[in-house]
Point group: C2
Chain length 364, copies 2
């Protein structure tokens, strides 16, 4: 029989998942009252992190989205989104899709003061985990040189889909000395040039972009990314071009062109070559890798505190194994860490390059 | 009741079309015994032009496709494919899709000696029509500076799906002094470097590529394109990026990377910037055009001998009017020609740019 919490959301398009404390229902597609990634436990519902729309023009976008209302500007970090919540006695990190992430969960104590969840067991911390050593995405912010960072950008509460207001967020960040994304202060559409200049700086630093958050009660949000992030994303994924939806690439090229329009096409002249280089060199690397190793893959490396968590992570990744095959390289001890290394093999690129380099034909 | 000819092909996935002599059945999707574009008349079947597979590596591709057998190398021209046939008393040009093309049909006498069809009424001439002034594709070979050229590359016969052998083709081209695609002679996989050097020259000249034709009885075929053609195609279509399948772009970028591998990555270094430029500048032009004219479009201009044919062409284009809207600019007399001008409006790019430039959000 379902508990009261489980009855609050109708779990069509959902799957039952296991976690250390039992089972829960994971919503696999957006539903009217619960986004994808919502996790329904016996006693509580952890709502999914909602989608945030993107603007591609700054001046008209800020005006259209916020009118004269002020908004906070925060950094958007190039990593993966987690929600951290106390479920029973355990504090767990959930991916955007609603899976428990063994890696992030294992490392939580390195990044945040877990007393927060003793004092406020209903809180959900929303954060980005970014860096070169993580199990999910291929790119990372250039200034994070090793391991990962965790940066908080929102708080939710169990059983509630919305966010805590900005003042409460600021208090919590301070009280528990939590690592947070960069805050760039309060702005409004009338002073959009300041935001433009901020984004030029972030572009030069190779950062991803920003999220704009209207203050309560409207609390409307939108995001905007730098040209550099479009090029970096393409560079990081060109070797997996056949598996990603092609719109992944064309969408970023369109964003790049509109970023150039916003910042002045002339001063972004060199970005054309950077784009061509990202596409071509990513593919040439894939070809070279295939030639040497007969497959196209990306090696991930992640540091764990507990060896069992590394093993659990590997099982989790292999479960999701579909077009991307996960091949373990091993778990080794390095200082205080157990370091898991594994390859994600891009099977479509591997298959097509094998066919083409042998001299096969394609029909298109 | 269907005639005998109409019974030879089972017309599932087909449509009835009108032509000056009555109606015919057009095959709209590939079928086991008839490719898309096959046209079934009361007395005859005009078979569709078959798909030709593409290799992306030259050395292994020629070896894999042809072994030790020699093959002819012919230019592949960047235009649109037509089949020209005598149906009843009229000589008509059909597009790849099996439509009668009013433009090409009107201009046939400018390019080929139509006595061919008096002497050999069963013949089907397969040709590429290319140049800056045509109704279909946006790009064209750089050395064709005005109007269009028609270049023959194959002969078929009514009621037969295959091609005439090379010797018979050569005789017909000579006897009727027909314009033909460039022939680069007989080669074999063992001397693939000669083919590579030919393709380097074609690349530098901005030409599309080549078709390899094994001699009878095997008569196997394959094609291969230059890096320049990949970049040029992208440049010509980036302003329609949202309507074309995204694979249109990623496929060409992959071809380009493999062309670089074939020709030497170092000497093709500058192609990276050319690729980035093609993508970005195509989009910036679309944005600029939208800003000036509130829509993204490409203007086509075609020269007709007969005004009625221009009007028929316009009706034909408007019939196909879907995501691409056709807007007439007018028909004017220029010397011996009636010049039709019309715009193809790219409605998805127009719609999205309108939304984004007004400050709208997208969810992706």
């Amino acid at each position: 029989m379902r508990s009261t919490a489980q009855q609050t959301v109708v779990p069509r398009r959902s799957r039952e998942e296991e976690y250390p404390g039992g089972t829960y229902v994971r919503i696999t597609d957006d539903q009217r009252d619960a986004p994808r990634g919502t996790a329904i436990f016996a006693e509580h519902v952890l709502y999914g992190y909602p989608h945030i729309g993107r603007i591609l023009r700054l001046q008209s976008g800020l005006r259209e989205q916020f009118g004269d209302n002020p908004f906070q500007v925060e950094e958007k970090v190039d990593g993966y989104n987690v929600r951290i919540a106390r479920i029973g006695d355990a504090v767990l990190a959930f991916t955007r899709g609603g899976f428990v992430c063994p890696f992030t969960t294992d490392r939580l104590a390195d990044f945040i003061d877990l007393r927060l969840f003793q004092d406020r067991p209903e809180l959900v911390v929303c954060a980005e985990v970014a860096g070169p050593e993580q199990p999910y995405v291929a790119g990372h912010p250039p200034h994070i040189l090793e391991d990962v960072c965790l940066q908080v950008f929102d708080f939710m509460r169990l059983d509630h889909p919305g966010f805590l207001p900005g003042e409460e967020q600021a208090q919590l960040l301070q009280r528990y000395a939590l690592p947070a994304v960069e805050h760039y202060g309060r702005h409004d559409a009338g002073r959009w040039e300041e935001v433009r200049d901020l984004l030029w700086r972030l572009h030069l630093e190779g950062r991803e972009g920003v999220v704009f958050k209207e203050e309560a009660p409207g609390a409307h949000r939108t995001k905007y990314v730098t040209g550099a992030s479009c090029v970096d994303d393409i560079r990081a994924t060109a070797d997996n071009m056949l598996q990603l939806p092609s719109e992944y690439f064309t969408g970023r090229i369109l964003r790049l062109a509109l970023f150039m329009e916003d910042q002045g096409v002339e001063r972004l002249g060199a970005v054309r070559e950077a784009l061509g280089r990202a596409l071509v060199d990513g593919l040439l690397e894939a070809i070279e890798r295939f030639r040497r190793e007969r497959r196209v893959f990306h090696t991930h490396r992640c540091r764990f505190r507990h060896r069992e968590a590394a093993e659990r992570m590997l099982r989790h990744l292999k479960r999701a194994d579909g077009h991307i095959q996960v091949v373990e390289r091993g778990i080794t001890r390095e200082g205080d860490f157990h370091v898991l290394e594994f390859d994600k093999t891009y099977s479509e690129m591997t298959g097509l390059l094998g066919h083409l380099l042998r001299g096969g034909m394609v029909y298109d």
